[in-house]
């Protein structure tokens, strides 16, 4: 399956809701073990919220090995790859390393305890 993001979303991939549109299309394909290509040709802007929904959520139940094997992402605009890498790192922490999130949450708990 090849998905042209410009055709589906337009030049500006900004919102979480837009990201979910992509997720809803590709998640079943990946779960069936089918290859997916996301082509970002003509996309100008990608916001991390969009990528969190479209790609970050995949890490909840699609093994990383399968994602590396099946999912191809091409023609990202400048800055897009860096954002994508950070989204993937965050999602990895969120789904597979809860101690990272717990450490962040401890900042809040510690400061509240001082009151």
């Amino acid at each position: 399956m090849k998905l042209t993001i410009f055709d589906l979303i337009g030049p500006n991939c900004v919102t979480y809701t837009d990201g979910l549109k992509v997720y809803d299309l590709i998640h079943p394909e990946l779960q069936r073990g089918r290859a997916v290509e996301l082509d970002f040709t003509n996309v100008r802007v990608i916001v991390s919220l969009f990528l969190n929904a479209a790609i970050g959520r995949l890490m909840q139940d699609v093994p990383t090995g399968e994602l590396n094997r099946l999912l191809t992402i091409s023609n990202l605009p400048p800055g897009g790859f860096e954002t994508l890498k950070r989204v993937i790192e965050n999602s990895d922490d969120f789904y597979h390393h809860p101690q990272v999130r717990e450490a962040l949450d401890r900042i809040l708990a510690e400061h509240a305890a001082e009151v």
């Binding site: 802007v45 916001v47 991390s48 969190n52 400048p78 800055g79 790859f81 860096e82």
Partner: protein, 328 residues
């Protein structure tokens, strides 16, 4: 990663002369000849950049919150109105209207140079009609009652970053627009602002700075973080600090978040600019060498973000970024 090409070093930015402890003008009751109804006259003060000016803006918010429902905004004591003031006052008017109140603007009290600037940035055309905005040193006044992503990208990438005040490659320009878009999206998703988001920017040639301010009148970052943590005793400064860490989000069930500001922070650091965020009683400021999170006594119910970039001769671009490592 942002790369800064060689260029001339730029001297330290000129500080605007600000005075603490200014006496805020007290509101006065006035009777309007045309309507024969009493209005509260609110004196708009001089607003530039810096904590004292933000305090004055937040004092305005308290004035209109506390007294009456019909206001006359008087500019006779305003000698300068920076972009933060324009965005804030626009939002304040819409907030009062949203609560069922009324605001009249006493245009006759405006100094000619301020009136010209308000015409140039489009504020006048929104509230009075007539001409504007046009290109000059202004980044137009903008009201977003709902998220218009294409309009917003055009505003940020073309009207602000596309004016060549800061020399950015096209790629970096859109990449930065994406990061700042995230501030707006967060405002719409998390702030519960009933009037939306208000923006205005200004290029200051003598200071060699370009500034953009966005403000909402919503629940604010500290409140969102406290709600998320189910702990109302969290300090505003701690909540702000937490919210600015990579990987934090208050969106329930989200697969991580909070990655959007990194590139913006990186540019601010390289460029020697500043990122300031006021949110209720919380304050965060990011400078080239430091980050600070503070509690503030003067506050308002909302979040106000100001991004300041120095207009230097350097050229900023993204370095090549794709590698051959597996993505996941």
């Amino acid at each position: 990663m942002i790369h800064r090409d060689s260029g001339k070093d730029y001297p330290a930015p000129v500080k605007l002369a600000l005075r603490a402890g200014i006496n805020y003008c007290q509101p006065q009751m006035v009777k309007m000849a045309s309507s024969n109804k009493s209005m509260v006259r609110i004196f708009i003060p001089t607003i530039s950049e810096g904590p004292a000016s933000y305090n004055k803006l937040f004092a305005l918010w308290h004035q209109v919150k506390g007294v009456g429902r019909r206001f006359l905004f008087d500019f006779s004591q305003c000698a300068f109105l920076a972009q933060n003031g324009v965005a804030f006052i626009g939002g304040l008017i819409r907030t009062i209207e949203q609560r069922g109140g009324e605001v009249a603007l006493d245009w006759g009290t405006l100094r000619s140079e301020i009136k010209m600037n308000l015409a140039q940035n489009g504020f006048l055309s929104v509230f009075q009609g007539g001409m504007g905005p046009w290109e000059g040193n202004s980044i137009p006044y903008r009201q977003d009652s709902e998220l218009n992503k294409d309009g917003l990208v055009e505003y940020l990438a073309d009207r602000w970053l596309g004016r060549d005040w800061v020399h950015l490659s096209d790629g970096l320009r859109y990449a930065l627009a994406a990061r700042v878009c995230e501030i707006y999206v967060n405002a719409f998703e998390h702030s519960d602002s009933r009037v939306g988001v208000f923006s205005c920017g200004q290029h200051y040639p003598r200071l060699r700075m370009v500034r953009l301010t966005a403000v909402d009148f919503g629940v604010g970052i500290p409140c969102n973080v406290r709600g998320f943590a189910r702990n109302q005793s969290i300090h505003a400064s701690s909540a702000m600090k937490w919210a600015f860490q990579r990987g934090t989000t208050t969106r329930p069930g989200s697969s991580g978040g909070g990655v959007g500001l990194d590139l913006l922070k990186e540019l601010v650091r390289l460029n020697g600019g500043a990122l300031q965020v006021f949110s209720h009683e919380g304050y965060a400021v990011l400078l080239s060498q430091s980050e600070r999170y503070e509690e503030r006594n003067k506050n308002f119910e909302g979040t106000m973000v100001t991004i300041s970039l120095r207009c230097d001769q350097k050229h900023y671009r993204l370095t090549s970024e794709r590698d051959d490592k597996p993505l996941f």
